[in-house]
C-alpha cells in the first residue's frame, strides 16, 4: 500500500515538474518578441550610448577613443551649460505650475456639478492635439505685432511683449504653452484619485464640523499623495526632455535663450554630426533623471507613509 502511494505521488510530482517546465517555456515564448525587441531597441542602445560617449564619433570620420574627453569638453562648453541651465529653469517653471493648475481644476471637477463631462472633455482636448499643431498655433498667438495675446493685453494698457523674440521671456512663453497643452493629463489622474476617496471619510469629517479648507488639507491631499507622486515623477521626466515645442517655436533662440539639453543634443547629433559628443550629453541627462527620480522617491515616500 505504502509503496504504491509514494509511487503515485512521485508520478504526480514528476508530472507537476514537467507542467511547470512547460509553463515556463510558454511564458518565455510569450514574452520573447517583447524581450528581444527590448534588448535590441532599449538595452543595447543604452549601453551603446555610454560606450559611444567615450569616442570622437563623427558621421564620416572613423571613431576614435578619447576616454572622458567628451565630458570634459561638455562642462566647458558654454552652450551646453546654458542649455543645462535652461532645462533646469524649464523644469522648475513648468512642473509646479502645471501640477498646481491640474490640481485646482481636478478639485473643482470633483464636485457634484452639472456638465462635468463637458468640462472634462474640453480640458483634455489639448492633450490629444499634436504638439506641432499647438506649437504653430502659439507662434501665431504670441506674435508680437499681430498676435491676439498682445491685443488682449493692450486693453490692460500693457505694451506689446515679444513673447518669443525677447530672450528674457521666451522660455517662460514656451513653458506656458506647455502647461496649457499638458495639464489635462495630470488633471485626469488626480481627479480619479480624488474620486477614489471613500465617502465615509467625508461623512465622519462632516460630523466633526470640518471646514472645506481643513478637509482639503487633512483628507484630500494626503489621500491623493500616491497619485501625486506618479504625476510629479512623470512630469519631471517629461520636462527634462522638452524638445518639439522648442524646435518648432524658437529653434533654441533668440540667442541661446531656449536651448535645452534635448535640443542641443539633437543639433549636435543630427546637424553637426557629433555623435560621441551628443551621446555624452544623453548620458548626463540619464544620470540627472536618475538622480531626480531617486531624490523624489526618498522625499515622496516619506510623505506618503500614513497608515489608517
Amino acid at each position: 500500500m505504502a509503496s504504491v502511494k509514494t509511487n503515485t505521488s512521485k508520478k504526480k510530482s514528476l508530472q507537476h515538474m514537467t507542467l511547470q517546465k512547460k509553463d515556463a517555456l510558454t511564458g518565455y515564448m510569450f514574452i520573447a518578441p517583447a524581450l528581444i525587441s527590448f534588448i535590441v531597441f532599449v538595452m543595447y542602445p543604452v549601453i551603446a550610448s555610454f560606450v559611444i560617449s567615450g569616442f570622437d564619433w563623427g558621421i564620416l570620420t572613423a571613431p576614435r577613443f578619447i576616454g572622458i574627453e567628451n565630458y570634459k569638453t561638455l562642462f566647458k562648453d558654454p552652450i551646453f551649460i546654458e542649455s543645462l541651465k535652461n532645462t533646469f529653469t524649464w523644469v522648475i517653471l513648468y512642473v509646479p505650475v502645471s501640477i498646481l493648475v491640474s490640481l485646482i481644476v481636478a478639485l473643482a471637477m470633483d464636485m457634484p456639478l452639472r456638465g462635468i463631462g463637458f468640462f472634462r472633455t474640453m480640458f483634455y482636448l489639448p492633450v490629444m492635439t499634436p504638439m506641432v499643431v499647438c506649437a504653430l498655433l502659439f507662434v501665431w498667438i504670441y506674435n508680437k505685432e499681430f498676435g491676439v495675446l498682445n491685443y488682449i493685453l493692450s486693453f490692460l494698457n500693457i505694451s506689446p511683449i515679444g513673447w518669443l523674440s525677447d530672450r528674457n521671456i521666451s522660455l517662460i512663453s514656451i513653458a506656458l504653452m506647455s502647461v496649457w497643452k499638458h495639464s489635462g493629463y495630470n488633471m485626469l489622474i488626480l481627479l480619479s484619485a480624488l474620486q477614489g476617496i471613500p465617502e465615509s471619510l467625508y461623512e465622519a469629517a462632516a460630523l466633526d464640523g470640518i471646514t472645506p479648507w481643513r478637509k482639503l488639507i487633512n483628507i484630500k491631499l494626503p489621500l491623493i499623495m500616491p497619485s501625486m507622486y506618479f504625476v510629479v515623477l512623470t512630469s519631471v521626466i517629461d520636462a527634462f526632455q522638452v524638445f518639439t515645442e522648442v524646435f518648432i517655436m524658437t529653434k533654441g533662440g533668440p540667442g541661446y535663450s531656449t536651448h535645452t539639453v534635448s535640443y542641443y543634443l539633437f543639433a549636435n547629433a543630427f546637424e553637426y554630426g557629433k555623435m560621441g559628443y551628443a551621446c555624452a550629453m544623453s548620458v548626463v541627462m540619464f544620470f540627472i533623471i536618475l538622480a531626480v527620480t531617486l531624490i523624489q522617491d526618498r522625499i515622496m515616500n516619506k510623505n506618503i507613509q500614513y497608515d489608517s
Partner: protein, 277 residues
C-alpha cells in the same frame, strides 16, 4: 454629500475660466484659418472673418510636394502597423506576466517597467546608428520596428487589466485541455476589448502625433508624415499664418474624430495608467 453653495460657485468659476483658456486658442486657430491675409494682419483684429475663405484649405491641401491626403496616408503606414503589432505582442507578454509562472518573471517585469524612466535621448543615437547600418534610414521601418513587438507602457497597462479577469474562467479552459495560446486568444483578448480600445487610441495618438521620430529618420519629402509636413509649412509659408492655421486644422481633424468617438476609453485608460502596479 452636500457641498456648500460657496464651493460650488468657486468650482464653476474655475471650470468656466479654465475651459475658456483651453478653447480660445482653438477658436483662434479656426477663425484664422478662414481669414484673408489682409484680415489676418488687420489691427485691431476682427474675431470672425468677413468672408470665410475656403480657398485657404484648398491651397494647403496641395501645398507641399505631396498633398495633405498623401501625408496622411504616410502617417497611417506607420501608425496602423504599430497599433496592430504592438497590441498583439504586448498582450502576449502581458498575459505571461499576469498569469504564467516562469523563472525571473518579477525581475523581467520590473525591468520593463523601470525602462519607462529612461530618457528617449539615451536610446536615440545608437538606434539611429543601428538603422543607418541596416540601410533603413528614410524608410518607415525605424518608426515601426521599435514599437511593433511590445513596449513597456502597453505591457504594463494590459497586465493591470488582465489581473482583474477572474482566474476561474481560465481554469475551466485548462480542464478542457486548452493551451495557453488558445486561452489568450479565445478568453483573454475578447474580455479585454475595453483596454485594447484604450491602448489603440493611445498608440494611435502617440504615433500620429510623433514629430521627433519622423524628423530624425525621414528625408525624402514624399515620405513625410502629417506632423513633419506641417512643421515644414512654417518654413515654406513663413508668415502665411492663414495657411499654417488651415494646415493645423487639417492635421487636427483625425485626432478630433478619434477623440469624439473613443472618449470614454481614453478616460478609463488614464485612470488605469495612474494606478501603481
Amino acid at each position: 454629500m452636500k457641498q456648500s453653495k460657496k464651493s460650488i460657485i468657486i468650482s464653476y468659476t474655475i471650470l468656466i475660466f479654465a475651459t475658456l483658456i483651453v478653447l480660445l486658442p482653438f477658436f483662434w486657430m479656426l477663425v484664422s484659418s478662414f481669414k484673408s491675409q489682409r484680415e489676418l494682419f488687420a489691427y485691431p483684429p476682427k474675431f470672425f472673418p468677413s468672408i470665410w475663405k475656403w480657398e485657404n484649405y484648398k491651397q494647403v491641401l496641395n501645398a507641399g510636394s505631396i498633398s495633405f491626403f498623401e501625408m496622411f496616408l504616410n502617417s497611417m503606414k506607420i501608425t496602423i502597423p504599430v497599433v496592430i503589432f504592438n497590441i498583439t505582442f504586448s498582450s502576449l507578454a502581458a498575459y505571461a506576466f499576469a498569469r504564467i509562472n516562469f523563472p525571473y518573471r518579477k525581475f523581467l517585469f520590473m525591468m520593463f517597467i523601470s525602462s519607462m524612466m529612461i530618457p528617449g535621448a539615451v536610446v536615440m543615437i545608437p538606434r539611429f546608428m543601428l538603422f543607418t547600418n541596416l540601410k533603413l534610414v528614410d524608410t518607415y521601418w525605424p518608426l515601426i520596428l521599435p514599437s511593433a513587438f511590445g513596449t513597456a507602457f502597453s505591457i504594463f497597462l494590459l497586465r493591470q487589466f488582465f489581473m482583474t479577469i477572474p482566474i476561474d474562467l481560465e481554469e475551466a479552459a485548462v480542464i478542457d485541455g486548452c493551451g495557453k495560446l488558445r486561452i489568450w486568444a479565445t478568453i483573454i483578448v475578447p474580455l479585454s476589448k475595453p483596454i485594447i480600445a484604450t491602448l489603440s487610441v493611445f498608440l494611435f495618438q502617440g504615433t500620429y502625433n510623433d514629430f521627433m521620430g519622423p524628423l530624425i529618420y525621414l528625408n525624402t519629402d514624399t515620405k513625410f508624415t502629417v506632423q513633419l509636413g506641417l512643421a515644414g509649412f512654417r518654413n515654406a509659408f513663413s508668415t502665411r499664418y492663414d495657411l499654417i492655421m488651415a494646415g493645423s486644422m487639417l492635421a487636427l481633424i483625425p485626432i478630433l474624430i478619434i477623440y469624439i468617438v473613443c472618449q470614454k476609453y481614453i478616460v478609463k485608460g488614464i485612470v488605469m495608467s495612474g494606478l501603481k502596479g
